[in-house]
């Protein structure tokens, strides 16, 4: 009799087997490359003064760009991995081999590793650009860890949503449109008042950004970069967000488990 753990491990192995030669890693890598290009172009014109707050600037810019890039990247990743089951009409067969709940979890885990790859890649990109452009600001490890946590957690919540949509839709237009719309809703939410911003899950990349600008202090015509600073990580808010994210995931899983195949 196989234990639950060994069954889960086998199911995960099977999921990884399905991804062989599909080159899914190109998706996060491609997005990471564009992100790197985007942030590195202005860095060629950095002055000595700019280099003294280089990491803060990078964290700020990348958090903004994540609102555009990550939802779309997750939509593409989830759609690519879930579509193989939809196209192949494999769910009926799969359910004779494993429980539908486990299938849902394992598939999610298989997608989440690309998200982790992306989050980790971002941290490496920030460090690498810091070395390449000779940023003089001292490296503080805590913001790097917080940034990794924030991107992974917000990304995981978005991924759970895309995961459900991709598995539920026979036509992948819907999840892709949701990803596209989410990208811009996240960007747009930054213009909204704080209370509204908190209701938009795609906008949480900027809410959990490790650096920020106190716009109230920036005088007319001044360089806003001079007013950039590290922010205290909102740990209670982050824990609450993670808890809601887990509940959301369980709710979504419940929806999927009721799906008739």
């Amino acid at each position: 009799m196989k234990t639950t753990w060994s069954q889960t491990r086998l199911a995960y192995k099977a999921e990884i087997q399905k991804q062989r030669c599909r080159k899914v890693w190109i998706v996060p890598l491609g997005f990471l490359t564009v992100l790197t290009l985007w942030v590195s172009v202005p860095m060629f014109h950095f002055t000595a003064q700019d280099l003294t707050r280089g990491y803060q600037w990078l964290f700020y810019q990348i958090s903004l760009l994540n609102a555009i890039f990550v939802p779309m990247m997750l939509a593409v990743t989830a759609s690519r991995l879930c579509d193989m089951e939809i196209k192949g009409n494999t769910l009926k067969l799969l359910y004779t081999l494993e429980k539908n709940g486990r299938f849902y979890d394992i598939k999610f885990l298989a997608e989440a590793r690309y998200l982790l790859l992306f989050s980790f890649g971002e941290v490496l990109v920030i460090l690498l650009l810091g070395k390449l452009f000779h940023i003089t600001e001292p490296v503080r490890l805590l913001p790097f860890g917080e940034h990794f946590l924030a991107v992974s957690a917000v990304g995981a919540v978005l991924l759970s949503f895309q995961h459900l949509l991709s598995l539920m839709s026979d036509n992948q237009i819907l999840p892709l449109c949701a990803g596209l719309a989410g990208s811009f809703l996240g960007l747009f939410s930054m213009y909204f008042p704080r209370a509204v911003n908190l209701c938009i899950v795609w906008g949480y990349f900027s809410i959990f950004s490790v650096t920020g600008i106190n716009w109230g202090q920036v005088p007319e015509g001044a360089d806003y970069n001079d007013y950039m600073q590290y922010l205290d990580f909102p740990l209670p808010g982050f824990l609450l967000f993670s808890a809601v994210g887990i509940l959301l995931y369980l709710f979504e899983k419940g929806i999927f488990m009721r799906k008739e195949v």
Partner: protein, 243 residues
């Protein structure tokens, strides 16, 4: 023969949710752009032109190419499913007609999208209280943007034909657009298909970026169109199907 192929491709779009994307997605940049315009009335003083900069900033830079990518992916997805490649390639029609018919349909949907964004632009302008009608020059920019879809449309059709995934070509179109934004800012718009589109739409600019004449733009557009169409037809002729 080509007309029959176009009719067949059109049939495939009946009752598809692509129309929902065509109508709903342009609403987002229109609302975002108008909101941005209303919040910056102190700086944005050129009325219709300023509103254009705000709507096209979001639409052309981030939405237009992924939308075209979505249309192309949808059209090819139908062939990637259920061994339809075999049926498609055994049809008694030249493969160039198959490709050109798909291109015509993508272009038709894109034209409707552009018309819709034009209507939204007009409505948003009126909601903001802008006087008079849309300036004729902006209609030319809209038309130029529609023409520019030929470059991206052929490229996206090629990508969606070669890549069997529905989502990857759309992801490529988004990254292409964002790279296009950078390339456009560096002044090399003619050499990147996604930037040609920005140039055509005169995105985020109230002065015409093609005031010295449209010839380089048209040459670049034709070059990309011929290149990607040529590669696509060659690919369809030479490569064996993977059904």
């Amino acid at each position: 023969m080509l007309l029959k192929c176009i009719r067949a491709e059109n049939l495939k779009l009946r009752h598809s949710c692509i129309w929902a994307a065509c109508v709903l997605i342009p609403l987002i940049p229109a609302v975002m752009g108008t909101f941005n315009y209303q919040n910056n009335l102190g700086v944005l003083t050129r009325e219709w032109y300023s509103l254009w900069t705000q709507i096209t900033l979001f639409y052309s830079s981030l939405f237009y190419a992924p939308l075209i990518g979505l249309y192309c992916s949808y059209l090819w997805r139908l062939e990637h499913l259920n061994n339809n490649w075999n049926v498609l390639m055994t049809n008694p029609v030249p493969v160039r007609n198959v490709f050109l018919a798909k291109l015509a349909v993508v272009y038709w949907v894109t034209l409707l999208t552009q018309l819709w964004i034009g209507v939204l632009y007009f409505l948003c302008g009126k909601l903001c209280g802008l006087p008079g009608m849309i300036p004729g020059q902006i209609l030319v920019w809209l038309l130029r943007g529609t023409l520019a879809a030929a470059a991206v449309g052929t490229l996206q059709l090629l990508l969606s034909m070669v890549i069997r995934s529905f989502s990857v070509p759309i992801g490529i179109s988004l990254t292409g657009s964002i790279l296009g934004f950078i390339i456009s800012n560096k002044g090399y718009s003619m050499y990147w298909p996604y930037s040609v589109m920005l140039l055509g739409m005169n995105a985020n600019k109230s002065e015409d970026s093609l005031r010295h004449g449209p010839i380089p733009f048209l040459v670049s557009l034709c070059a990309f169109f011929l290149l990607f169409t040529g590669i696509s037809i060659w690919y369809l002729k030479k490569k064996d199907v993977r059904a």
